[in-house]
């Protein structure tokens, strides 16, 4: 990586232009002065080549999945196939206006319908809406569906959502945004749901329970059938956070486990690019009895013709149009690349890779949960903490060796959490190299702890002053003057 330190505004020069527009031979339009802005926006003035060189240099300050290994637990950083990018951006998809009459967009509607059908089959549910823009948005949709379901039954007491303390932050946040009260239950030491804790909070105010399975520590909730029975008997619904779906592809389905609603993260399980933080796509899926509540509009099919329909009992519209089409088209290509023949191999290899790393490093890293893990697992810091080297230090030192750090300090149930998810795309050689470097860093923590505690050393910037950034926020270019 190269430390390139210029902002686009700093290379701007008055009079330079990067655009190629011709003026039409039509009269200029003069708007009333009161409606016009006083000054032009101070946007850059640069040549096209300036833009290209600038953003190329900016990109070289980034670490992508194609640069190296990203063992981020809970993120499923797998390869983003180029064929997905190429085919999803064909002009017959890219140049289509969302408000075209349905007869003129049958190809897109077919992709939408087919994708949701495939996701439904993989999940063991009835149908999906691809309208939510991200996982958290899918969660919100799912929670709105839970509320709508209880409202329709005139069961207005149900205002609580139960969430385990190991859950991803979006779960309780989504519940709050949807107007629910969160009831947090303490997990077992392995992150699984404590049945007694669950029973203690289930009552006629329970709207539902949100779960990830396998959980955020990479452990499968083997009591899921009992959990499902308990929640349903109490009158609640069961929500599946699909962040860890990668582990169970080919092995089991959330619908079969008893989940009523799920969301899937296409940018995790189904290979769509992370884009530096988005766009993602968080389709929400439901069982038969909840179909009427799906967000509008719904894509339907009759005799091979596809069209939109609004459901009277829908939770409503969740966006201006129909979700991140360019993202779910990529997912569709991915689904068709694996097909029914190879989809099941994904879970097998993901789980094999995770267990391989776990077994190879458990002698020097603290493994709180014994036994086989699923597609990811947690280390609770170094076994030998005598030199005071923490998870954060290990993570930063890994950057020096050309790795992206694993997920750190999540899940919250372990104080020195380091969550590792290799995904199925990494070869044994890549894993062996990573295992080796982890051993090197663990040794450094013993022999030269200061080196690790002050890491990273080889990155273009090191140990940023985050407190200063928060106390004196500089959030736009003009703040710099």
């Amino acid at each position: 990586m190269k430390y390139y330190n210029k902002l686009i505004f700093e290379i701007s020069k008055k009079g330079r232009e990067g655009f190629n527009l011709t003026k039409k031979d039509l009269p200029e339009v003069k708007l009333p002065k009161a409606l016009v802005r006083s000054n032009k926006a101070n946007l850059p003035e640069v040549s096209e080549f300036d833009v290209v060189r600038h953003y190329t240099n900016v990109s070289q300050k980034n670490f992508g999945v194609e640069t190296g290994f990203y063992p981020l637990g809970s993120c499923t950083m797998k390869y983003n196939p180029k064929i997905n990018d190429e085919l999803a951006t064909l002009s017959g998809f890219a140049n289509i206006h969302p408000l075209q009459p349905v007869e003129t967009v049958q190809g897109l509607l077919k992709i939408y319908h087919e994708t949701q059908r495939i996701l439904a089959e993989i999940s063991g549910l009835a149908a999906y809406s691809l309208n939510p823009f991200a996982g958290a948005h899918g969660e919100l949709a799912g929670l709105m569906i839970i509320q709508a379901y209880h409202d329709k039954r005139n069961d207005s007491k149900r205002n609580k959502i139960i969430i385990p303390d190991s859950a991803h932050g979006t779960n309780p946040a989504s519940a709050t945004v949807c107007g629910f009260e969160t009831v947090e239950i303490k997990s077992n030491p392995d992150g699984t749901v404590n049945l007694e804790a669950l029973k203690a909070v289930l009552n006629d105010e329970t709207a539902g329970l949100m779960l990830t399975n396998p959980n955020t520590a990479g452990v499968f909730e083997k009591d899921i059938a009992e959990i499902s029975r308990l929640v349903h008997d109490a009158g609640g619904l069961l929500y599946y956070d699909g962040a860890n779906l990668n582990a169970i592809l080919g092995k089991t389905r959330p619908g079969d486990m008893g989940f009523d609603i799920t969301h899937i993260n296409l940018h995790k399980t189904f290979s769509t690019p992370h884009g530096g933080g988005g766009p993602g796509s968080g389709p929400v899926g439901v069982c038969e009895k909840l179909l009427e509540f799906l967000p509008n509009p719904i894509v339907k099919e009759k005799d091979g013709f596809y069209y939109f329909e609004d459901s009277a009992d829908s939770i409503g519209a969740l966006g201006l149009f129909y979700g991140n089409a360019s993202v779910y088209i990529r997912a569709y290509v991915y689904l068709m690349t694996f097909g029914k023949e190879s989809m099941s191999d994904i879970g097998l290899m993901a789980v094999l890779n995770a267990n391989y790393i776990k077994e190879s490093l458990k002698d020097i890293f603290e493994l709180p949960i014994k036994g086989h893990c699923m597609h990811e697992f947690v280390f609770d810091g170094l076994k030998d903490q005598s030199t005071g080297v923490k998870t954060l230090d290990v993570a930063k030192r890994l950057l020096d060796y050309g790795y992206h750090a694993p997920t750190v300090y999540f899940p919250l149930i372990f104080s020195q959490s380091m969550m590792i998810e290799p995904t199925e795309v990494e070869s044994k050689e890549t894993l062996d190299e990573f295992i080796n470097i982890m051993r090197v860093v663990a040794q450094e923590a013993k022999d030269n702890p200061e080196l690790v505690k002050t890491a990273p050393h080889n990155t273009i910037v090191r140990r940023l002053d985050e407190a200063k950034a928060a106390r004196q926020p500089i959030v736009k270019f003009t703040d710099l003057k």
Binding site: E466, A467, A470, R471
Partner: protein, 124 residues
Amino acid sequence: MVLEGLLYSPSHEWLKVEGKTAFVGISDHAQHALGSVVFIELPRVGKTVKKGESFGAVESVKAASDMYLPVTGKILEVNSKLEGSPELLNDDPYGSWIVKIELVDESELSSLLTSEQYKPLSEE
């Protein structure tokens, strides 16, 4: 460390009684757990807050935490110096009071912890 002579709550606030009023702040354990404090949200003067209810929030780079009033009180003053320099809470947690309250029910004081009783909690 735990300063003698103050009263404490299990949620790591300290309280110093002065007649019918009291000063409230956060303990050394609290500031240490938070890390560098970057922002503090102070309550409105004149507001009455019940025992155990939140009277504001304190934010660090990696965490945000509500502060709970150890006893019921009416907010008389807030330490606005902290708004410009929230890091004072890290530098001097016992010297940087956050709110001054008028005590509403002095009997609530007996439910608070002495410095001896709080010490084990601060070591968790």
